[in-house]
Symmetry: C2
Subunit: 328 residues, 2 copies
């Protein structure tokens, strides 16, 4: 890996927005640029816009392409990291898009794809507070639940780049049918969607809560964000729902601890922004139920990276030696 080339470019390709950033080996963002994704256009046009953003950060930073190790692209959906293609991404409306080859042709540097949960894990590992550990799991609790898993100093991708579907492990074989086809998936108990739908259910059944009044008696305005904020303010219903979600999260994290024996678990995602109660309950469950030697080896912490996780993780793929060198 071109150790003499000090920079990498990270792209965060979302359904709404594209972010491009030029990143050094310490995770400093030298220059950043955004554009709307405009998924109504053809993939070729979107990729053209990504390329223009790359050119913009190069121009504005005054860094020559010859000093770039490569371009990393973090995106949702099913990707193929061998052929650097997006196989299917519903948020982009893409099927079989050879984005890697197109950008490699334009810039003549390596292009690597990574899914967004994995990118967040790499960002934590390369540049976050847990950098240097060889055994780190990043868990996102957002609309859904996902994980990026680094074990023995390497990202776990699986044979088809689909590993880490933490939201779809079953915690109850007789539980509700999940969209994935499985039953009783973690995501049905702990996720933004689950929190919002449980809050609405309880309110419809007449539960007392400040949620309704604060949202103009409009159930449809109640999302996980409202529930999380109300829990922080002390709304009892919201606190109960966050604790319930935390209970199942703790059961799921115990399973991860038993399977991966991680050193660090970093929690991120929208729901975690007001997730103190949820995390406290999850930690209770872990303390009570995990094999104690393994629980003691696993430090569970909130992410400190935030919105830049995508570009940092995408660029972070190009800094493996630094990752190995740093000690926890």
């Amino acid at each position: 890996m071109n150790q003499d080339k000090p920079y990498a470019i990270g792209i965060d390709l979302g359904g709404t927005k594209i972010i491009a950033a030029i990143v050094d080996e310490h995770g400093n963002i030298l220059r950043q640029a955004n554009a709307a994704t405009q998924t109504e256009e053809a993939a070729q046009a979107v990729i053209g816009r990504i390329g223009d953003l790359v050119q913009t950060v190069l121009d504005e930073s005054g860094i020559n392409l010859s000093r770039i190790r490569g371009i990393g692209i973090a995106t949702a959906g099913i990707i193929d990291t061998q052929r650097q293609m997006v196989i299917f991404a519903s948020n982009l409306n893409w099927s079989d898009v050879p984005i890697g080859a197109i950008l490699q042709e334009r810039f003549g540097v390596a292009v690597q794809l990574i899914n967004d949960a994995n990118a967040a894990a790499v960002a934590e590992w390369a540049f976050g507070s847990a950098r240097g550990t060889k055994d780190l799991i990043y868990v996102t609790v957002s609309t859904g639940v996902g994980a990026g898993i680094i074990s023995g100093g390497r990202l776990i991708t699986g044979v088809g780049d689909s590993a880490g579907e933490f939201g779809h492990i079953s915690l109850d074989p007789e539980g509700p049918l999940c969209v994935c086809g499985n039953r009783g998936c973690l995501e049905n108990y702990t996720s933004g969607l689950a929190l919002a739908s449980r809050a609405r259910e309880q309110l419809l059944q007449g539960a007392t809560s400040s949620l309704l009044v604060e949202n103009g008696n409009d159930l449809s305005r109640i999302t996980a964000k409202e529930v999380g904020e109300a829990a922080v303010r002390g709304d009892l219903l919201s606190m109960t729902l966050m604790k319930e979600a935390g209970y199942y999260l703790g059961v799921g994290l115990t399973n991860l601890i038993h399977l991966f024996n991680p050193q660090v678990i970093v929690m991120g995602g929208g729901v975690m922004k007001n997730g103190q109660l949820l995390l406290a309950e999850a930690k209770n469950v872990i303390r009570e139920r995990s094999i104690s030697r393994m629980a003691n080896q696993a430090s569970i912490q909130l992410t400190t990276i935030g919105a830049e996780a995508g570009v940092l993780g995408a660029a972070g793929m190009y800094y493996p030696s630094e990752r190995e060198m740093v000690e926890v």
Copy 2:
């Protein structure tokens, strides 16, 4: 890794028996020797006996120590693969035994420890029918349930060499308390102990079965082996119990598929010897519940290695390049 040295020695250190074997890069066992473990003796004496077995296979094969890459030791219990120590092994009655250093001193070659489920995984990977795959999980269903996981061409050990506790993932947070402290662990539904205890329960409640007569009306003689054999013969109670165990195994394997996206899952362990029905039911659950793309990528097969898995896996740690070279 000493590519010019063609052999490795594998040790299978069990509570009853020690096996030593000299193994070539293709997994051929050139010479093998056994001894009783005699755990009533001090660890030093047991290690002495292991050393004598190593010397025996060297002498009898006529292979000089200079042609040995290293000695691998597969054992149960908690091990430290950095310091090559057995931290705790109840079946040996050992605590903090520096077996690696002692044998390295005696023979002057590298010594590496590996836990027995991981050894079985390495054996499959290095020498089994699935050799060459980078994403393989070995699952043993025996008295308990465990797994050895290879992902991206590397063994998943975790920070404390304890990864792969597949028997202790929870499938029901409100389920029975497990010996590990967790609730509703897979091992409580699918394992030799669970099968035997369910059979006895059902018989005590008056279930009709050939099991009782065949075991002289002695409940204590009914183990998972009897249940498995009776299921193969068509005993309805035993068939039902095997199918139930298979159902939970399928739920657990679906979780593994969603987390690791493996290419091959190899099933072994005593219970699988009569496990056709159990495996068929597990496959049904996987087909029904796993994300189909990931289920289609995972081939599930029975082990073809058997009793030599320990020595082959222990020796197999010394053949990484061959593993990488072979294509599935």
